[in-house]
């Protein structure tokens, strides 16, 4: 189980690096889907199967299909790949990368390394998640539904054609 966790983590990191260095949007999306599936596998090894299933169905399924749909509708050709390659100069990305790595080093330093705590020792299945979700977290579910409604209205408003222009 432990070795599966590390292998999935390595796959997720490699796929994410391919996402942020890729020049073709469709290839970057497919790499992102690989990264999400690897994270779903990590959820399974951590004893959170419900979160893993949701990651596959909603993240890798619905949201990524939305991205693929948009990329296909925009019909980006080889010209955009060339443009991306021109934008990805080393002097453009080396400064932000160093700054982010400093933040990452601080985050990793803040985690205690002498005493490791065990995770994934118990299985938390969907039943417990559902009981907690519709018990003490009921108000949060209502707020999430309002957020989704607001996003629906906003997406409809932003996505429509303006006939006047």
């Amino acid at each position: 189980m432990l070795i599966m966790f590390y292998i999935a983590g390595a796959v997720a990191l490699l796929a994410t690096v391919r996402v942020i260095t890729g020049t073709s949007p469709v290839h970057a999306l497919l790499n992102l889907i690989v990264s999400l599936l690897a994270v779903a596998l990590m959820f399974f090894t951590l004893g959170a199967p419900f979160a893993g299933i949701l990651e596959i169905i909603v993240y890798a399924g619905a949201i990524m299909v939305l991205f693929v749909f948009v990329v296909m509708m925009l019909n980006l050709g080889p010209a955009s790949v060339e443009q991306e390659r021109r934008w990805l100069h080393p002097r453009v990305w080396i400064g932000p990368a160093l700054l982010s790595l400093v933040l990452l080093a601080e985050l990793a330093y803040l985690l205690p390394r002498d005493a490791l705590h065990a995770a994934g020792h118990t299985l938390v299945d969907g039943k417990q998640v559902g009981i907690a979700l519709f018990g003490p977290y009921l108000l949060v579910v209502e707020l999430a539904s309002m957020l989704l409604l607001a996003a629906l209205v906003a997406a409809y408003h932003l996505g429509r054609h303006d006939e006047k222009e």
């Binding site: 590390y6 951590l46 993240y59 700054l99 996003a151």
Partner: protein, 102 residues
């Protein structure tokens, strides 16, 4: 089930988050920026699930479900903005929309 060190999961989440942050800062194509934001939210969800798994409670997974909702809302609105940007400026460069005009 075998135990997994929680700190390793958190470091992995921090690594994914930093990669997404680099992508958001570096890329100029708005599609890649949205993808990197998805990576960052995914890393946050991984941190929550790892922490919830350390205590053996369902709270981490519930926070992950909320992050999932947020990601879905963000993706739909963000992709609608991508459409508007492409329709008005015929480019996906985020710098093309740097001037706000009414």
């Amino acid at each position: 089930m075998n135990a997994i060190p929680m700190e390793h999961g958190l470091i992995l989440a921090a690594l994914l988050f930093a990669l997404g942050l680099i992508g958001v800062i570096v890329r100029r194509n708005i599609l890649y920026v949205l993808m990197c934001i998805e990576v960052m939210m995914n890393a946050t969800g991984l941190a929550f699930v790892t922490a919830g798994s350390r205590w053996g409670t369902a709270d981490g997974q519930i926070m992950f479900i909320l992050i999932l909702t947020l990601a879905a809302a963000e993706a739909s609105v963000g992709l609608a903005i991508v459409f508007q940007l492409y329709r008005r400026y015929h480019t996906l460069d985020v710098d093309a929309a740097s001037e706000m005009r009414g």
